[in-house]
């Protein structure tokens, strides 16, 4: 028998080549690109407008991003389990009008005006998880449908009108309650000249970050999103974790909605709708922060801050609001393009 003699062809000279400039710069940009953009924007705006770099403006920016950040934390958690919660905007709107209704129409205390929207918000979360986990609808479709339903519900409840102090009622007279000062404090107050919404946001970011990174609960949320079947075959109750994620997502959307009501002092209808896209954008920009490549809360926070800085600076420079979306879109594309380009390699 003649034995076939094999020739080894495999080359082994990959490590000897020197790194090109591109190979050095790209990984750096991949990790710190987003932070670099923030730094450059801050420098740019500071040069263009001397009022930009002040403590007052700094807290203004953080206050303006606090609501979006809370909403975006919810989106981030839904992304972590491999889902996507589109209903957060509507859930926030619903929370805004229910807390306003509790105060103005039903003369309730602040604590009730916070707990009722949270309870209703968790019901929305349950509805989402029912469609996703039990009916097994794709996440996008289920939450899109729920988005419409919740939006319609809150408009039906208010008949399309916003809720405000001393509003006239259809049965005659004016509304019995008012926005209580203790409720408005959540949105407008300051503690040691730090706005309360900023404090709430920072606490939320830190607590969620620690839970996601350090606890078993957080690890299993990530594992569920990483590979559902492998997680299930390793004994992870994946369906339960998906439900938790949608409950948390709805919870943070509700928190954002309550904060919004307290901030503007009225129960504005559809107030949450424009927040959805900013929240989603912040969560996706967050993928690229520190080269994480996956949803993470610190990244989401940085993403929201970046959006906030841009909007604030552009407004100061008198760029019309409709043109600001062009910048938002470009930043999102830039962040994601880098991430996917690096991932593909």
């Amino acid at each position: 028998m003649t034995q076939y003699v094999h020739k080894e062809h495999v080359k082994n000279d990959i490590n000897t080549t020197k790194l090109t400039l591109q190979e050095k710069i790209f990984p750096f940009l991949y990790r710190y690109g987003t932070l670099l953009v923030i730094l450059l924007t801050v420098i740019g705006f500071s040069l263009a407008n001397d009022k930009f770099l002040s403590y007052q403006n700094f807290t203004d920016i953080l206050r303006s991003v606090s609501i979006i950040t809370l909403l975006a934390i919810g989106v981030t958690i839904s992304l972590i389990v491999g889902g996507f919660d589109l209903s957060v905007g509507s859930t926030a709107s619903l929370a805004t009008v229910t807390s306003a209704a509790a105060l103005v129409l039903y003369r309730q205390e602040t604590i009730i005006a916070i707990l009722i929207p949270i309870a209703i918000g968790l019901l929305v979360g349950l509805l989402n998880s029912f469609f996703v986990v039990k009916v097994r609808l794709p996440d996008l479709l289920a939450t899109l449908a729920v988005m419409y339903i919740i939006n319609g519900l809150h408009l039906t409840f208010t008949k399309g009108f916003s809720i405000y102090n001393n509003m006239p009622l259809s049965e005659g007279g004016t509304a019995p309650g008012v926005f209580l000062p203790s409720f408005l404090f959540i949105g407008q107050g300051e503690i040691w000249s730090v706005p309360v919404p900023v404090i709430i946001m920072l606490i939320a970011v830190i607590v969620v970050h620690v839970i996601l990174q350090q606890t078993r609960f957080g690890r299993l949320l990530y594992i569920t999103g990483g590979n559902e079947e492998a997680a299930r075959l390793s004994g992870v109750p994946v369906q339960r974790y998906k439900m938790y994620a949608y409950l948390l997502s709805a919870f943070f959307a509700t928190l954002a909605g309550i904060l919004l009501a307290a901030r503007i002092g009225t129960g504005q209808v559809s107030a949450g709708a424009p927040l959805l896209m900013d929240g989603v954008a912040a969560a996706f920009i967050g993928f690229s922060v520190f080269g994480a490549g996956k949803p993470n809360v610190i990244g989401t926070f940085v993403g929201a801050v970046l959006i906030g800085i841009l909007l604030n600076g552009l407004t100061m420079l008198n760029v019309p609001y409709y043109a600001q979306d062009i910048v938002k879109g470009s930043i999102l594309i830039g962040a994601l393009a880098f991430m996917y380009y690096e991932k593909k390699k």
């Binding site: 094999h6 062809h9 495999v10 078993r216 590979n227 299930r232 075959l233 004994g235």
Partner: protein, 501 residues
Amino acid sequence: MTILSLTSIQKSFGEQIVLKGVDFTVRGGEVHALLGANGAGKSTLMKILSGDYERDGGVIKLDEEELLLKTPAHAKDAGIEIVVQEVDTALVSSLSIAENVTMNSFISGPAFFSWKKRFKVAQELLKRVGLHLDPALPLSQCSLAEKQLVLIAKAISQDISFIILDEPTAALSTNEAQHLFSVLVELQKQGVGIIYISHRLPEIMELSTKVTVLKDGYVTLQKETSDCSSEEIVRAMLGNELVELLNDEEARILGDTLLEVQQFSVPATGESVSLSVREGEIVGVAGLVGAGKTETARALFGADPSKDTIYLKGKEVRISNPQKAISAGISFVPEERRKEGILVDYNVVENLTLPVLKQFTRFGFIQRKREKTEAEKWIKQLGIKTQKSSLLLNHLSGGNQQKASIGKWLLTDGDVFIFDEPTKGIDVGAKQDVFQCIKNLAANKKGVLYFTSEIQELLAFCDRILIMYDGKIAGELNKNEATTKKIMHYATGGHYDTVCS
């Protein structure tokens, strides 16, 4: 006569080198059989030839002209067509047979093509492959064998010089296979070069003119078929490493029955099985592709839960989901490693500790140091080759990924271990480690259920072999009475001798 020659073809996926310089030549009018065990690199080589994968190195020449072959269109232009194993991926089941057969005319044909003409062209092509079906029928009504012929008809709708068939008879009955052979012989007469991939030796001896055997990315045999025997081919396919394993003669001491099922219904196949495994016993479950091995293994683990109960150490339990199985002491290493066994985007530590994460948790917080120390102990014990324990599993070779997929269950310290094709696509060294690991389990009084289609592995170290056919257990053989022939006899439903002769 056209000659297609491949010289020193190389291909690797990440760290894993699949083809290590393969030479391969086909001439028009020749049937060149390509053999090799799972993971030997056959499919990769053919995907390179059909333009699906891009090669890392090597030269492909058609006669004297060098071919680029970067896309499937390049391969088509060169007259190379492939009939893939999963025919459904190459056809559109919502369209009619006629549209599928004349698919190429959609790409390069005229903008308007009358249905009358399309049906006529399709009819002629179907006649050439001996298929008498109405071309207006939707493809979804065809059987698997018919779809295969439709795919061949589609391939010959243009002038082709070479056709690749990837395990075409894997799911065919004897009659259907015979019909396919006659079609191939007809093509061969027309001067088409055929590359024929198969595991079935009898049909290769009958059909092919030349044989090439691949093993772990190398060519180990290349000869005229008439010059070589079946034994020679088998030896080239399996190499010497299994000969060593065959010497495993040490008798194991068996204890009490650990797991037993009686008329246990398997939801995915609709059939029932009865089997048992004792302490320290390795029970092999053999069967060809589609015999229901994976389905049975998944049902036992509760991945696709059965309505029936099982007996664990004499106690009756119903395994309705994997969590129940794990707490009852059953572990499962699934067949599709990357899809079901491991998390490729997570590191070695996170993968290993996943089923027992609770042990490393205090007040909900993961004790990372303790987790890492424990995981590193197992990395060493299992011989997982990784630079550091925080490396993502994606960067590890298939064999090391498999060790992680098995290793995570060693931490749970269960009683019954179910393995489904644990050596699929891993190299020889890793195979040895996996075998050693399984033998250690048996020595530690664990029960092992070993599902595989690799008969040599079963013969090497199983105490008892059950053979599945069509979802049922068709036979049972003891260690000392089992032979390849006997196993194949049961695995083919008693048809093996007829196929042989």
